[in-house]
């Protein structure tokens, strides 16, 4: 061959090696997060391997609320607008991880984004974080929409972003160049792509705070199934005491509202995949995912504030005799499904029997089960525990006082309302406030209360929001209902 060919080849090889070296060290080299023995910290801020797919360069992420306040939901500022709990001194709110790839820190959501709870016992006290709790205030759809709107906004330019960053960080020249010519254009393109990938949300009811459509994104983006127009809107469950779901020789326990999985670790891994983890990052993330799994196996809810030991007149006082009587009713009517030793615990109860809104059930289709079981072309995850069921899982009731609103879609605002016949349950209330409703169990959510000011309207007439079904306890005499309510508040 002519010498010129070999000279071109020589240049190509140099370009490949130098280019790979530069890309590796500047943008892709994964730097492990600082080690910690605090499993709660791993859960709240640990990486789930999605930084390359979902991670926003830290300094861009940091200034977006200042640059685009008009795209934030009303009534709040900064990332608190999405209901995220931000502990003083933390680099980012709970539910976001910071991991360095190359020389750039990236911010990406993790499990705690949705699975974080908060509460207040009095209106004038600050909210308290509940690790792995139900995402009472969190609005993941608002966060997704904020990022999509920012990506589509013509004001998202390198000049504006770098000027805003310059107000809080004296960025060196090389980093400014990297942001200007690589990271800001790439982030804008990625956010615009996110807008296309989530276009299906436009013709469905809003999720609202505390809720998510968990598997439709996976169906459309990972499993490449066609849009079937199903609605999966449902509450974000607390991840407490999941050691209870460890399979035995004779029983398997179901996870997710419709029991579509029966293995905890597969649930964690598939959850991370849904949030952007790929097998590319799996090897470096596996240890963290196993620690997250350990955390949710062991972590329980905080003790209930409702107690007979509180002085009479205290809003969280419950009568001891009523609690005892309520416990008896619970054992007779509820424990078979909701107690960890109950025969139907963590099993799907047929939709015909439970009678609640079926949209979430229909969202997870046999086709999705089949496709996820062999996920994914080019790399086999070996999922063996996906299933399609015909009902909703009877979950445990630990921390029930923090789990409001109730039912899988959060369609019943309080425990008291849950013991009413479906026709008498509230049809409109407000979700997203974390002040405990001491009288009714759940959170303050009625119209003309602070729940309206801080929450978002929930309308049971919308598809996926139905509040029917789960009639157990609704036919009890009034006194028995009060006794059962007293007991349930203490769980």
């Amino acid at each position: 061959m002519r010498r010129v060919f070999w000279k071109w080849l020589f240049a190509l090889l140099i370009l490949l090696v130098v280019g790979a070296f530069a890309l590796f060290f500047l943008l892709f080299r994964p730097v492990a997060q600082p080690k910690t023995n605090d499993l709660a910290d791993v859960f709240n801020h640990g990486s789930i391997g999605n930084e390359e797919a979902q991670g926003i360069p830290y300094w861009i992420w940091r200034v977006l609320p200042q640059l685009f306040p008009d795209h934030l939901p009303a009534n709040a500022d900064g990332y608190r607008a999405f209901g995220l709990y931000w502990r003083a001194g933390d680099e980012v709110p709970v539910g976001l991880s910071v991991k360095t790839l190359g020389v750039i820190e990236r911010v990406a959501p993790n499990c705690a984004f949705c699975h974080q709870g908060s509460y207040r016992l009095r209106a004038d006290e600050p909210a308290r974080l509940v690790d792995a709790g139900p995402g009472t205030r969190v609005n993941p759809q608002a966060y997704i929409r904020f990022l999509i709107d920012v990506g589509a906004d013509p004001r998202f330019t390198a000049d504006r972003v770098l000027t805003e960053i310059g107000r809080i960080y004296d960025m060196p020249l090389w980093e400014r160049a990297l942001y200007r010519f690589v990271l800001i254009p790439a982030t804008r393109a990625a956010l615009q792509d996110q807008g296309r990938r989530f276009a299906w949300m436009k013709d469905r009811p809003d999720w609202g705070p505390g809720r998510i459509d968990p598997f439709n994104p996976v169906k459309f983006q990972n499993l490449h199934l066609a849009d079937d127009h199903t609605i999966g809107n449902s509450d974000m469950m607390p991840l407490w005491s999941l050691a209870d779901v460890t399979a035995t020789n004779t029983r398997r326990f179901s996870l997710h509202w419709d029991g579509l999985q029966t293995d905890l670790y597969e649930t964690v891994v598939s959850g991370a995949i849904g949030d952007g983890m790929t097998y590319k990052s799996y090897a470096g993330t596996e240890e963290g995912l196993r620690r997250i799994t350990d955390f949710v196996r062991l972590q329980g809810p905080p003790p209930s504030p409702f107690s007979p030991l509180r002085p009479e007149g205290d809003p969280y006082h419950v009568d001891a005799a009523a609690v005892d009587a309520g416990r008896t009713i619970y054992a007779a009517q509820c424990a078979v499904c909701h107690d960890a030793k109950g025969a139907r615990y963590r099993t799907p109860i047929s939709i015909v029997e439970v009678g609640t809104d079926r949209h979430r059930l229909d969202m997870w289709s046999p086709a999705a089960r089949d496709r996820y079981a062999v996920y994914e072309p080019g790399y086999a995850w070996g999922f063996a525990n996906f299933q399609k069921t015909d009902g909703y899982v009877a979950t445990g009731l630990k921390g029930l006082w923090l789990r409001g609103p109730y039912l899988h879609n959060g369609s019943v605002p309080t425990l008291r309302a849950l013991l009413l016949p479906a026709a008498e349950r509230p049809t409109q209330f407000y979700r997203g406030y974390d002040l405990v409703d001491a009288e009714n169990g759940g959170f303050v959510s009625a119209p003309d209360t602070p729940g309206q000011r801080y929450g978002a309207l929930y309308d049971t007439s919308l598809p996926g929001n139905g509040n029917g079904g789960h009639v157990w306890g609704t036919d009890l005499p009034a006194e028995a209902k009060e006794q059962l309510l007293s007991y349930l508040k203490t769980l």
Partner: protein, 143 residues
């Protein structure tokens, strides 16, 4: 230094570099065959079926053996020397570059780019020098 002495030195350098490449290849060959999970785990690569990395290791070993003749007598086996650069080292490097940056494979596969690329660059440089010196000699030019 005469052109012929310089030519011999570049041929020796080429042989040494090819042998370094062979040894580096074998640093992957044996672990790939006997403990593939361990070696791939070092590079953050997870595997489902061990037969394929084992087979790849075996092929890499066989391929490396074909580099040897040119180190023994580069004049007789010159074509082996060129083939070792193209397609062998070149396509190896391109394959892993595209695998990582285009097809989303784990970053650890960049080891293939660095190994094949750097050995390819070094040996190709030697071959181009050898070619140049041989032309000078055949045209009667002195250094």
């Amino acid at each position: 230094m005469t052109q012929s002495r310089s030519l011999s030195k570049w041929k020796a350098r080429h042989a040494v570099l090819v042998w370094i490449g062979i040894l580096l290849n074998f640093a992957f060959v044996l672990p790939l065959i006997f403990c593939p999970e361990w070696i791939l785990g070092l590079f953050g690569i997870t595997v489902n079926q061990l037969i394929w990395p084992r087979f790849a290791g075996l092929l890499l070993g066989i391929l490396s053996i074909f580099y040897i003749p040119a180190t023994l007598d580069i004049d007789r086996y010159r074509v082996f020397a060129w083939l070792a650069v193209f397609p062998s080292r070149t396509l190896g490097s391109v394959f892993f570059f595209l695998a990582v940056f285009v097809f989303g494979q784990p970053i650890g596969y960049l080891a293939g780019v660095f190994l094949d690329g750097s050995i390819g660059i070094a040996t190709l440089f030697c071959l181009l020098r050898i070619l140049k010196l041989e032309q000078n000699i055949s045209e009667g030019r002195q250094a």
